[in-house]
Amino acid sequence: MNVPILSLVLATPLVGALVLAVIPSGQVQLIRRTALLFSLVALALSVVLVFAFAFFGPATIQLQTLGTPPTYPMSFRYTEAIDWIPALGIQYKLGVDGLSVLMLLLTTSLTSISILASFGPIRERVKGYMISFLVLEVGMIGVFMALDMFLFYIFWEVVLVPMYLIIGIWGGSNRIYATMKFVLYTLVGSLLMLVAILATAYAFQSSHGGSWTGAFDYLSLQAWAAGGHFANELQILAFIALFLAFAIKVPMFPFHTWLPDAHTEAPTAGSVILAGVLLKLGAYGLIRFAVPLYPYAAHTFAWPLIVLSVIAIVYGAIVSIVQPDLKRLVAYSSVSHMGFVTLGIFVFSATALQGAILQMINHGIITGGLFLLVGVVYERTHDRTIAKMGGLAAAMPIYASMFGFFILASAGLPGLSGFVGEFLVFVGSFGVAPGIAVASIIVMVLAATYLLWMFQRIAFGELSEFLRGLGGHLTDANRTEMATLVPLAIAIVVLGLFPSLVLDFLRGPAQSFLAAVGVAVGG
């Protein structure tokens, strides 16, 4: 089967953006539907890819055999490569492994949901908005599929511009401050990453007789790194640069301060993508690039980074408790939840890493859902202050029960997906650092506190003065809104009950990750 499926997935939103560009901007409904159509095609293609990845190919995943480790392909599949800048050995090279396909599926599904969720709230400059969203999707998909460091960097930067526009044009009252902060933070990290990528490539080139072939190729770089060929100083410096770029994106404490502003000001769908996918780009970068390429540095910094992760988990949770704004609360809870992801990465254990990746997916789904829910109430009240709400359960019963469900998932209720990821990280890190693991798991109590307390304040009791003033505007969630929420809710239940659906994809990536850092598999 020689269909360039990865390029097809990548090209679909791009073609969509071009098609939108020629539709007159007055045809709002047509623009919305076309954008949704293209995002759904990308989603369908990525579903096909996931199934093909699981059931066909060099070694299939045995989804039904939970206990026995499948004979797993360590390598990337569906790779495509075309020379782009031959003089430097830079290629247009794509490929996916189990981690990539899951991230791809997360991206395409959340993009479709976000576009659908924008039908109501976005009424101004719809064309520019939808084009931005599709270009954003191109960048995100590209990051997850690129196997050339330069190509990866380019997609990484491509993500930046549409998000800058989405927050800056369609955002809230303080949007310009927020979007500038977002861009500047991200750019500082990513430009230093460029220096590191170039320095790494040059180190590779100079030890290969001055030939640039493979100097930007992820696979050859990783093989070279696995042989311990990169000098320790280079590893330390390059790791710092890459880590900075990724840690800002995740965001790890203390690089998180852009996040609450960006989330608060972004339009609902922007927040969904920001939390659901953009933060995952950072974690993906750590797993895929920063650690495997510079294992010596990763070991050197592992402990400080574990400590930073725990600080993020605790700090995010504590700060969430006192947030007066619904979106800010969810944003700070993201800092806490993403702390579990980085913790799972840096303890170098297969269980914890799989938990971390599962947590990435869960966080994307659950937090994406929470932002959608906040968006629903904001549409009706144009306010997000928790203190002004109250009694929503009576006024919007379906909405409130949906909200409650996502709250429980986010708090880590066993049986729902949020629990599994954090639990696996806990189990995995317990063997390495019991104290740290216990400290982080106690935070689950804090999480329950801030989430349930928030829910109690907005949903129960008498209908608040403010909400009563809105009268008939306070309608329950409509069909479009439910259409965005129900798929996410189903995913939460399914992943909660059958986490192996995801975990089986991750065994191979986890093994190669641990092989790269030189830790015996099974830990």
């Binding site: 031959p86 003089a87 400059r125 380019i154 949007r175 979007t179 430009l191 170039l198 040059y202």
Partner: protein, 486 residues
């Protein structure tokens, strides 16, 4: 001299003839803008064809004072493109202000002839004369809007500091000539090679070299020799600013290549620290001051100072022993030409109606008012920021790659450059914020640029985009051009 020398310098001859032809056409048909413009553009096309026909040749003329190699061809093409774009941008600006296009085009083509001669000169005296031919018309262009006091002020400042720096450069040349006994670049290089091989550097020669370097730094607007730039750029008619920001700057880098690489090549280990410091200071100061500007022309003026700093990184990498630094300098020069001229051109388009200021507030709501103009401006600004996949990104990437290859302090310089690039995003994107995220105080009419103007914008836009998507097209040329003299 023999007759074949004339064939070697054919582009320069042709360029002078085009300038003369424009003047003659204007004499025959006074005030006919259309024919004057057509003559100038057609003539430039002929010059470009002649230059291209010389590609691949490597020879010298007039006793080794003019050298034709791939570097000459590359820079000549760039200069012709700069001249052509400037004329296209000037059409819309000059007419409403009732300023003559023929004189403008003729003066401009003379300036560009000087630049072409600079690119080819391998003799210190020819270099100086060529330089003067390049900058003198520049002063006239800066003061072209005679009735505008700002234009006059800018021109006078530009003239005074420009003459001053020329004098410094000449002073340095005189010392070098006196102490090496030759004005030929390769002769100077041979004399300095002896010094590098263990001889002592005579104090007078060192002083001469220092003066020469200061003169060149003036011309390329490197800090602390940059003070003329903001006033000259802000006061000049905007299409002239577009030209001044690229033409003389690329010209100054051409001098740097011929002089530093050709003549001072043997001493490069000595001037490496100087260039590193110059580059770091230039980009940092340019960016810091640009951040606080509310006038887009002035902001772009300071940003052009910052870009001088980035280009100097390539030169520093060369001094650090990385020949790829030269190709990076050339790539940067070409990419910068398209994106920077484009950005100034959009400012010029807004100022088509006299009286429109270049304050940032003018840009409010541009994205809605003039969607194409807004999108192009965003493209140029993103490219100047260094966002892939645009030309400006590759320019930075190549410069950084060369610096990283050098290692040591050059790596530190690379990091400084990237931190600077991130800071620069603030002021570039601020314009985008105004264009797309702020509502204008008063509703202005769309600026509806003319056909020629749009053609110029298209050239700049296509250059920025195509060199971004397919940088290999340009690197083939820069790599060939970087193999010369030193």
């Amino acid at each position: 001299m023999n007759w074949s020398d004339l064939g070697t310098i054919a582009p320069v001859v042709a360029s002078v003839m085009v300038a003369a032809a424009v003047l003659i056409v204007d004499l025959v048909q006074p005030g006919n803008r259309r024919t004057a413009t057509a003559t100038a553009l057609g003539g430039l096309a002929v010059v470009a064809a002649i230059v291209l026909s010389q590609a691949g040749r490597s020879e010298s003329a007039f006793g080794g004072s003019y050298s034709l190699d791939n570097l000459t061809v590359f820079l000549d093409i760039l200069f012709v493109a700069i001249a052509a774009m400037t004329i296209l941008f000037a059409t819309d600006y000059l007419q409403p202000r009732d300023l003559p296009i023929a004189e403008f085009a003729a003066v401009l083509i003379f300036a560009v002839t000087g630049a072409m001669l600079v690119a080819a000169s391998t003799d210190l005296l020819v270099l100086f004369v060529a330089l003067e031919l390049m900058v003198l018309p520049g002063y006239m262009l800066a003061g072209f809007a005679r009735r505008d006091p700002y234009s006059t002020e800018g021109a006078i400042k530009y003239f005074l500091l420009g003459s001053f720096s020329s004098a410094i450069l000449l002073f340095g040349l005189a010392y070098v000539w006196g102490l090496t006994g030759t004005t030929r670049v390769d002769g100077v290089a041979a004399a300095l090679a002896k010094v590098a091989a263990g001889g002592t550097l005579a104090p007078g020669l060192a002083m001469g070299l220092a003066f020469m370097s200061a003169g060149v730094a003036f011309k390329m607007a490197a800090v602390p020799f940059h003070y003329w730039t903001p006033d000259a750029y802000q006061g000049s008619p905007t299409p002239v600013t577009a030209y001044l920001s690229v033409g003389p700057k690329v010209g100054a880098f051409a001098i740097a290549l011929r002089l530093f690489v050709g003549a001072l090549g043997p001493l490069k280990a000595d001037w490496l620290p100087v260039v590193i410091v110059l580059a770091a200071v230039t980009m940092t100061l340019g960016n810091l001051v640009a951040i606080s500007q509310d006038n887009v022309k002035r902001m772009l003026a300071y940003s052009s100072i910052a870009h001088t700093g980035y280009i100097l990184v390539g030169l520093a990498a060369y001094a650090g022993g990385q020949h790829s630094g030269l190709a990076a300098v050339l790539f940067y020069g070409a990419a910068y030409t398209f994106m920077n001229m484009g950005a100034f051109a959009v400012v010029a388009a807004l100022q088509k109606r006299p009286g429109v200021s270049s304050q940032i507030a003018t840009f409010a709501g541009l994205g809605r008012r003039d969607p194409w103009l807004g999108a192009l401006m965003a493209l140029f600004l993103l490219s100047l920021t260094g966002i892939p996949p645009l030309a400006g990104f590759w320019a930075k990437a190549y410069v950084i790659l060369a610096a990283v290859q050098g290692g040591g302090w050059l790596t530190v310089l690379a990091v400084v450059a990237m931190v600077n690039a991130a800071a620069a995003a603030f002021y570039y994107l601020r314009v985008v914020v105004y264009m797309y995220m702020r509502e204008p105080a008063e509703e202005l009419a769309p600026s509806s640029p003319g056909r020629l103007f749009r053609a110029g914008l298209a050239i700049a836009g296509v250059g920025t985009l195509v060199f971004g998507l397919f940088p290999a097209i340009l690197t083939a040329a820069t790599n060939a051009a970087a193999v010369f003299g030193g």
